[in-house]
């Protein structure tokens, strides 16, 4: 097992190098980081030449990549061309906010999906199954920006205009009040609803089919034949086995929790990573973009590895072939 993990980590090095190379050239091809200055009338021609030189934009892209790579290998992730801040400092300012939002959504999603997934699997083709399936596809198909805005109008604007208790529409804490934990919880409600509703469908459907598959296995029939109660059969035998594929699914989703949810963060003015990525992508601020890409791609590699390893731990039938 140890050798396997080391081997996988070593393979990750060329993978990450490849990702960074492709990403760097794609980001560069997406536009000119100097463009924002050209359209600013107060920046003189001499200023433009000087800035281009300061930031190294006058060098070929390949040279810029090598400079960037050299610095990253030394532990220097570079500075944003826009904010002049260190990229790592910028990420650390935002990462916590994003994780609060994303992990809360994941927790809520899992909780709902587990209940609905098991219900629909054990009540296959019942009216309830159809209703849950229908609703979950509805949530899945809903455009986030529209749904977010509708929730804001309904639960923040209309309720307030009607004199009812209203939910906050934007930000992490009350705009005029104190930054308290209670405020944070209130501000989480709407964005978490939007994020959860769109992913509940995926997890519910997954768990449902996984449960159905397990329930039709011979050992479940055996368990029932032994005279075990339906509760024990479902929870002790079926559910635990049905969870195995779900663990992989969650592990593969985790890296993207770190990159945040662009549209939801935008609509609810949540100060997270997705918004930061978007703002800097528009300006071709490549040190920031590369920093986030590198973080997420490293997590993809690591979480894949964890998924594979945990598979072996959860399911004793699986042995990792060295």
């Amino acid at each position: 097992m140890f050798r396997y993990i080391v081997k996988r980590l070593l393979i990750a090095i060329p993978v990450l190098l490849g990702v960074s190379l492709v990403a760097f050239f794609l980001v560069q091809a997406s536009g000119d980081p100097m463009a924002v200055y050209y359209s600013n009338p107060n920046i003189t021609a001499e200023d433009l030449v000087r800035l281009e030189k300061t930031y190294g934009f006058d060098k070929p892209v390949a040279v810029q990549y090598l400079y960037w790579l050299r610095n990253v290998l030394r532990g220097d992730w570079g500075q944003s061309f826009q904010t002049h801040q260190d990229v790592l400092a910028m990420i650390s300012e935002r990462l916590g906010n994003t994780l609060i939002l994303m992990f809360t959504s994941l927790a809520v999603t899992l909780l709902i999906s587990l209940v609905l997934g098991i219900y629909t699997a054990t009540h296959q083709y019942s009216a309830g199954d159809y209703v849950v399936t229908g609703l979950s596809f509805f949530g899945y198909a809903m455009p986030t920006f529209w749904f977010g805005l509708m929730l804001i109008i309904l639960f923040a604007v209309k309720t307030k205009e009607a004199g009812l208790p209203a939910l906050p529409a934007a930000g992490m804490y009350s705009i005029r009040g104190e930054r308290t934990f209670g405020q944070l919880l209130l501000h989480l409600i709407l964005p978490v609803t939007v994020l959860s509703l769109s992913s509940v469908a995926k997890y519910t459907r997954y768990l449902r089919s996984s449960m159905l598959e397990v329930i039709s296995q011979d050992y479940i029939r055996t368990a029932r034949a032994k005279g075990l109660s339906e509760r024990v059969v479902l929870w002790k035998h079926a559910f635990r086995n049905a969870l195995i594929p779900l663990v992989t699914l969650i592990m593969l989703d985790i890296p993207f929790l770190f990159s945040g949810a662009l549209i939801t963060e935008q609509v609810f003015a949540w100060p997270g990573m997705g918004r930061m990525y978007w703002e800097h992508a528009m300006l071709v601020d490549y040190p920031v973009l590369m920093g986030i890409i590198l973080l997420v791609s490293s997590l993809v590699v690591i979480c894949n590895l964890i998924a594979d390893v945990s598979y072996a731990i959860i399911d004793p039938r699986i042995r990792i072939n060295q």
Binding site: G31, E93, A170, G272, M276
Partner: protein, 583 residues
Amino acid sequence: MSKRASLIVAILVVASLVLSGCSAPEPQVVEKEVEKVVKETVIVEKEVEKVVEVEKPEDTTPKGTVVVGVWQEPKGLIWNIFYDAHANDIIDSIFYSPVTTNEKDELVPEMLEQVPTVENGGVSEDGKTITLKFKPGFTWHDGQPVTAEDYKFTWQFIMDPATASQTTAGWNMIQDIEVVDDLTAVVTLTDSYVPFVAATLVFPILPKHCLEGVSDPGNSEYARAPIGNGPFMFKEWISGGRIVVVANPTAPIPPKLESIVFQFVPDMNTLLALLRTGDVDVAYDLRETQIPELVKMQGVDTVALPGLNIERYYFNLRNPKDLSQPHPIFNDIRVRKAIMMGMDRWSAVSGILQGYGEVAVTELDNHPWANTDLEPVPYDPEAAKALLDEAGWVPGSDGIRVKDGQRLSFRHSTTAGNQVRENLQLLFQQNLKDIGVEMVIDNYQSSTLFGGCSSDGIFGTGNFDIIGFTNSPASIDLAQEWSDYFLSTSIKDCETNPAGSNAWGYSNPALDEKMQCALNELDPDVRVQCIKDAQKIIYDDYFVLYVYDRLDVFAISDRVQGVNPTIFGGHSYSYANWHIVGE
């Protein structure tokens, strides 16, 4: 720690802060102690105020908080390094500037005794020497006085390449600054440059004792927590969240508000929702298309000013495939004029913009120096057809005109994803088809559209037929930026002049002369006439179509008074005057 002990610590810290200036940033824990003390003093002051109230009915204690919804977060708070309009709007609350604009958009002194002119002796007869006399009583928020040395330092700071200043416009004309005494500085320019006052003195002075010797100031603590000298003091900046400023008790022009919160709300629809719920009091830089929703809001005033932002289309006068050659179609002024006359801008404004905008005429619409003798290029498809016939373009088999085997077809490029722009393109495309002209829409993301030479940008390499975007003069007086688009010396060429802004290759000696007069003429009347003449020359050459004047849209809650937005000053010139009513 007991309260008393913490007070002593705080006092010691304050003392050490004063001694060390800004050079030694203190650990955060200590700063909190200082805050506590400040809060306690405020409480005491309030109690005193209540007692005084009996004798003095006027209560001048700053009161209340106003929330400004900002959809674009600034990148930093040192104005010359992070130069953009949204940063400057916030910086204006933390810094005074030597001169500013008033509610009538006139230049008025703020830190200076007077706005220097030739008449009042502030500017020498040859225009090269400018004497600045500062009013006494201005201090930095850490207690240090503001002096002429700070002004001189600001110039050195901006010009130092290590600062990585985004702009040096105007400041690069300074040859030397002599500090005569604490309140007097004499500026020597390399050449007469009339826009100097409006181009440089409207920007803040930076504190020498905080920024001198700081390496990489853009990445310094100061860049995100500046010590200013203005009506409000910087309090906090939460990345992606908000910037908060609080009243400066020692300000020479005391503010009426206790604090202003600049809340970052990147989504326009969410911003409108927050205006409706009263979470946000003031929003600006809103879109014309939002006006109908804004005017329906109760308790919110909508102010829409015809602004200086003008959407324009430049015709490339050079062949995009070979810039040394003239453009195969647009070389003929009759074709350019016909295309302009073939576009129905009146329908565009009344339909697409729902009437919120005006058909534009010149570069300086709504500016006091606009040439009002000029009329908008009319929409006249018949005259346009006649012009094209006259120029030898005859309708071909598909209805598109042809001349010498060349079809009358061109690409029209603007920023992709902007719905108003795209709707305008569709309308004009149809209009032009009616007169036998094919307009192919060829849009790019803005970082590609405005990209320079090294990245093969559309603007940089002149690879367009018509390029459309919005621009406005950067200061109340016209500085370099206006002329850069038109001067023959600014013609962009990736080999010889990669930083030029005249990407359309326009060259007219008569205009060059008028532009030179606009920069150097000391007689104000003659100068304004030159600027008006320049507009006429550009108009008569039919190579840039000013499509429509955009509106500057502000939304202001009823509870906030004293904002009075103006065309130049926007909402940010009047922060000290903002106050809350009815609470």
